[in-house]
Amino acid sequence: MSATQRPAGTPLIRLNAVTKVYGTGQAELLALKGIDLSINAGEFVAIMGPSGSGKSTAMNILGCLDTPTAGQYLFHGAHVEALTRDQRARLRRRYLGFVFQGFNLLARTSAQENVELPLLYRGDSAEVRRAAASRALASVGLTGWEAHTPAELSGGQQQRVAIARAIVTQPAVLLADEPTGNLDSQRSQEIMELLQDLNVEHGITVLMVTHEPDMAAYARRLVHFVDGHIASDEANANPTRPLAATAGSC
């Protein structure tokens, strides 16, 4: 994985004095007020904070879905704030995987085809797509469920399909926005264990936004956002259920 091959000391992600302003004039809203943040390859970072603290804004900028109003965002040494829409799309396609709170699977579409979707945009052949999707579904414990549509899957299973879709391209970074927000505590734990596995065993850098401390406790680094600033940034020396992970049954 290219991200892990970078020389030590050079962060994979670097935000320099990033600000983000929504709206103009009277309606102007300063969502981020000059953020500095470095994330190294292989980290598992939980971004926490109350509503309106700027954590989702930061996540969108980190995911190259949005651009900063001012400041620099370096990803892999590239200046994301200077990239065009299409260049950012190619960057997402190549390096990033997304998991959303609402799963966002295509309706009436089998798990297999949902997972294949990002590969389709990369132009991979049918055989490559099928093999990669099967592998990804197996790594989230959904072997045998390939033909099921989202309506035929439980919430936890749907989120697993979404995770499989995010990792099928073997991304450097997995961005998860409230991945357990729509799930009960049992399913939430299973999803968090899965993210932990991906981080530890596959070396994927995981960035996760959550407002639940229980979920954040799975991460190895906790970043707290308050009112557009980073209020605290600390290591979690003792993550929940460390390392010896085996994927739970669904």
Binding site: L65, F98, N104, L106, T169
Partner: protein
């Protein structure tokens, strides 16, 4: 990228069969309605033109009485024509090819123990020329038969079939045919002109020499109509003027008197009638165009209903790395494929319906490539308009906004 996107678009259509079907439905109905209406309208126009053409091209029909209108033709005081008028027209007016004096009477003819109500026409051999008639069998009248009013007749195919049966032109030659109190011998059979449309069967006639009609059927010497065939390529206006002048003299009308006859030009008639049917066609087309428009609005509704789901789908595709133009191309292809499918289905249905309805209405089926192409282009346009532009708006959103679309 194009092939790939085509694949994505087709997969999306297949996955959303109900939505795709509803989208197509509006197009199908609209296109089918427009094409059927216009095709039938064209067929009706053609039928009218054929009928007029079969009357004889370059034909002037001269009738006694004022121009036809409410209470027009007839009137006991208006003198009819004489046989000599026909002769005079032929010899004195240039550009005239043939003149046939004509009288008619509705009769029931009997032969072979069968009855048939038809029209018996009395005229001369010039009648064949003025009416563009040819003989399928037999001969025309001899001069003797014409002068003496012999008991001979030429029958149309419909009369032949009803009285003698058999295949077309098979039986009837030389048979006896009873018209009122006299029997005549069938000496010829007219080649069929076929159904002229509008329920008017020109083959349903019996032709006898004019004198035969006058002496044995009507009992008077009236010539009801003069049929004047002009030579090919001759201009009808001067002939019409000369004809009018000649007849005014022969009928001893003073300068102050109105014409007591009228001259009908089949060419003018043809133009007037086909003009009318063309207006009808345009009207039908306009009505059908409204249904195409309603179909388009139906498509718009379906597209708008699915816009939330689709906007989120677009957001997702953008987030996982689809380029804006790839997403747009996908939606464009989806829209075009659906519209084209609808258009083609509409054309197939319209063709089937047109052929069926045309045969039921007794008018010819005419394939009109222009209206087919136009409808197809319009349906594709509608599809693109309502399928593509909402998608374009969505694709221009930030992916994260599109994903949150409620």
């Amino acid at each position: 990228m194009l092939l790939n996107t085509l694949f994505i678009a087709l997969r999306s259509i297949r996955r959303n069969l109900l939505r795709s079907f509803l989208t197509i439905l509006g197009i199908v109905i609209g296109v089918a309605a427009v094409i059927t209406m216009v095709t039938l309208g064209n067929g009706a126009t053609q039928a009218v033109q054929t009928k007029i053409a079969s009357l004889g091209s370059n034909l002037l029909m001269v009738r006694p009485g004022q121009r036809q209108g409410p209470g027009g033709a007839g009137g006991g005081s208006v003198p009819s024509f004489k046989e000599a008028d026909a002769e005079a027209i032929l010899t004195q007016i240039g550009g005239v090819a043939a003149v046939a004096p004509e009288g008619r009477s509705s009769v029931t003819v009997i032969a072979n123990g069968r009855n048939w109500a038809t029209t018996v026409t009395g005229s001369s051999n010039a009648w064949f020329q003025t009416g563009n008639w040819t003989l399928a069998a037999g001969r025309q009248f001899t001069d003797d038969e014409q002068v003496s009013g012999a008991a001979v007749c030429v029958i149309g195919e419909t009369v032949r079939r009803e009285l003698y049966g058999g295949a077309v032109g098979a039986n009837g030659m030389g048979e006896q045919l009873r018209i009122k109190q006299f029997s005549c011998t069938v000496i010829g059979i007219l080649a069929s002109k076929g159904q002229a449309g509008m329920g008017n069967d020109q083959d349903d006639t019996v032709l006898v020499p004019l004198h035969t009609l006058q002496r044995r059927v009507t009992g008077n010497r009236i010539v009801a109509t003069l049929l004047v065939a002009m030579q090919n390529g001759s201009d009808s206006a001067p002939i019409k003027a000369a004809l009018t002048q000649l007849l005014r003299e022969r009928r001893k009308l003073g300068d102050a008197d109105d014409d007591n006859f009228n001259v009908l030009d089949t060419q003018q008639l043809a133009e007037a009638l086909s003009g009318t049917t063309q207006v009808m066609t345009a009207l039908l087309g306009a009505v059908a165009a409204v249904s195409l428009l309603v179909g388009g609005i139906g498509i718009m509704n379906i597209m708008l209903v699915s816009v939330t789901e689709r906007t989120r789908e677009i957001g997702l595709r953008l987030a996982i790395g689809a380029l804006e133009r790839e997403v747009l191309l996908q939606f464009l292809i989806e829209a075009v494929v659906l519209s084209a499918l609808g258009g083609v289905a509409g054309i197939i249905i319209a063709t089937a319906a047109s052929i069926l309805l045309a045969s039921a209405m007794g008018i010819p089926y005419l394939f009109d490539p222009a209206i087919n192409l136009l409808s197809l282009a319009f349906s594709a346009g509608i599809g693109v308009l309502f399928g593509y532009f909402p998608a374009r708006r969505a694709a221009q959103l930030d992916p994260i906004e599109a994903l949150r679309h409620e």
